[in-house]
Amino acid sequence: MSNNKVITANELTKTFGDFVAVDHISFEVEKGEIFGFLGANGAGKTTAMRMLCGLSMPTSGKATVAGLDVYTENEKIKRSIGYMSQKFSLYDDLTVKENMQFYGGIYGKKDAFIKSKTASILQELHLEKEANVLVKSLPLGWKQKLAFSVAVFHEPEIVFLDEPTGGVDPVTRREFWNMIYQASANGITVFVTTHYMDEAEYCNRVSIMVDGRIEALDAPAQLKQQYHAASMDDVFLKLARKAVRAAD
């Protein structure tokens, strides 16, 4: 295993009873890569992501995240990754600052680190004035950007983003992706799911899951060429329409 591979999955499988949710998937993600993880509802994205985050034990196959084994070192994995989803992100009834302190504390960061990091994030997001404002009173777009900053607060090797931009306005959505690019430039690997197909184009590489298997995996340009499609939207539709199993 090369040091550059931040995530490796080899024949990773998860079954629930006789239902194969994730069916022998294999892929590798490199350090600093923005990896798009697409698939229709029920294709097995969430299950696969949970296994990689150390939240769910695979049935068979191998996988390492940040060089750690998902079977035996899942607690360590949790320390070296960040996670953000559309649903769960921040505590509404804590202030912006308190949220950052809280997450910094959870990951066992030192007070000095928390202090300087909080200041730099507030400056980056132009939220200095809102530092002591309750998160629930922020507009959704700001919340999502803040949530991302919190997810990478402890400087993880990898950040998992589960539909981070759902329902966000087009301008903020772009600002959000700008943050993703920056994180990636700083060496953080980004593993992201989305329903916006234009966002798939922003990824370095994209995998498309159909019926628990990875049906396609390549850079967006190559995928479009391979499937003779004008956009990622078309690629996705061509692949996802092949799905036979009922979603979820």
Binding site: A40, G141, G167, D169, P170, V171, S231, A240
Partner: protein
């Protein structure tokens, strides 16, 4: 007579009315129209739908549905509208068929009576009619909810973000169904945060922060976009964007799928851009003139 009229609707939340959800909204929807309310979360879409379905009272302003006032004649409206709220709201412990039967009964009708209306949608979920609604997949739940909202043959159908969180394939299918319903003469108001769905509507209202940015047909919205728009591509997209943004004749530049969209100040700037691209032709920068998308319009309207 319009199917829906909205006049100067204002809605605030909070003890001190500090949260302005809808800021003086006015528009009409013609009978049989497929009308889209397009805007991000928090734009006020759900508040608007709840006011029109008589679930909320506006602070001020007037609204009618099917000619009835949403405040005084709320009982009449409740008899004749179909409503599908944003989150799944059927009985998860009843089966598919039981849910449909239940909602038919509540609206004093039967599945048989209006079966022709829901038939095309229902056949897709019929194989699972004995399954509990809670065990359905996202796309199928959506279809069942639509059937339940249609079972009494409503004159106006309100769909609040029916495609949020649904994958691209299911979204396409859902819009196909809406097209079918429109042919049956049902007025449909649908809200969505997905800009690409706007072009599937007859007319759209783009809303942001409780105010309408623009109301027009999708083509009309695009026509309102008065600046030249170009799509630019290169193998190194991130540095390209920064360079584009720095150009004096560029009004705005932002990523858009595989390209960066570049809004130019005026027609004269097109030549300048062309020359600029020529300089970098070696590094494989490509540019082409394109027509704006609803999303381009939304971005422009937001930044105004």
């Amino acid at each position: 007579m319009p199917a829906v009229t909205v006049e100067h609707i204002i809605k605030t939340y909070g003890k001190k009315k500090e949260v302005l959800a809808l800021n003086d909204l006015s528009f009409d929807v013609a009978p049989g129209e497929l009308f889209g309310i397009i805007g991000p979360d928090g734009a006020g879409k759900t508040s608007l739908f709840r006011i029109l379905t008589t679930l909320l009272l506006a602070d001020s302003g007037k609204a009618t549905v099917d000619g009835f006032d949403v405040v005084q004649s709320y009982k009449e409206i409740r008899k004749r509208v179909g409503y599908m709220p944003g989150r799944f709201s059927l009985y998860t412990d009843l089966s598919v068929e039981e849910n449909l039967n239940f909602f038919a009964t509540i609206f004093n009708t039967s599945i048989k009576e209006n079966y022709d209306l829901v038939k095309e949608i229902y056949v897709q979920i019929e194989p699972f009619k004995d399954r509990k609604a809670g065990k359905l997949s996202g796309g199928m739940k959506q279809k069942l909810a639509l059937c339940c909202a249609l079972i009494h043959r409503p004159s106006v159908l309100f769909l609040d973000e029916p495609t949020t969180g649904v994958d691209a394939v299911s979204r396409k299918e859902f819009w196909e169904m809406l097209k079918g319903l429109r042919q049956q003469g049902i007025t449909i108001l649908v809200s969505t945060p997905y800009m690409d769905e706007a072009r599937l509507c007859d007319r759209v209202a783009l809303i942001q922060n409780g105010a309408i940015l623009s109301i027009n047909t999708p083509a009309g919205v695009v026509d309102e976009f008065s600046y030249p728009l170009w799509a630019v591509q290169s193998p190194a997209m991130l540095p390209l964007l920064n360079e584009l943004k720095a150009l004096p004749f560029v009004k705005d530049a932002y990523p858009f799928g595989a390209y960066h969209h570049v809004v130019l100040n005026n027609a004269a700037a097109e030549n300048q851009l062309h020359q600029w691209v020529q300089q970098f032709a070696v590094t494989n920068v490509q540019a082409k003139k394109i027509t704006a998308d609803i999303e381009d319009c939304f971005i422009a309207l937001m930044k105004n």
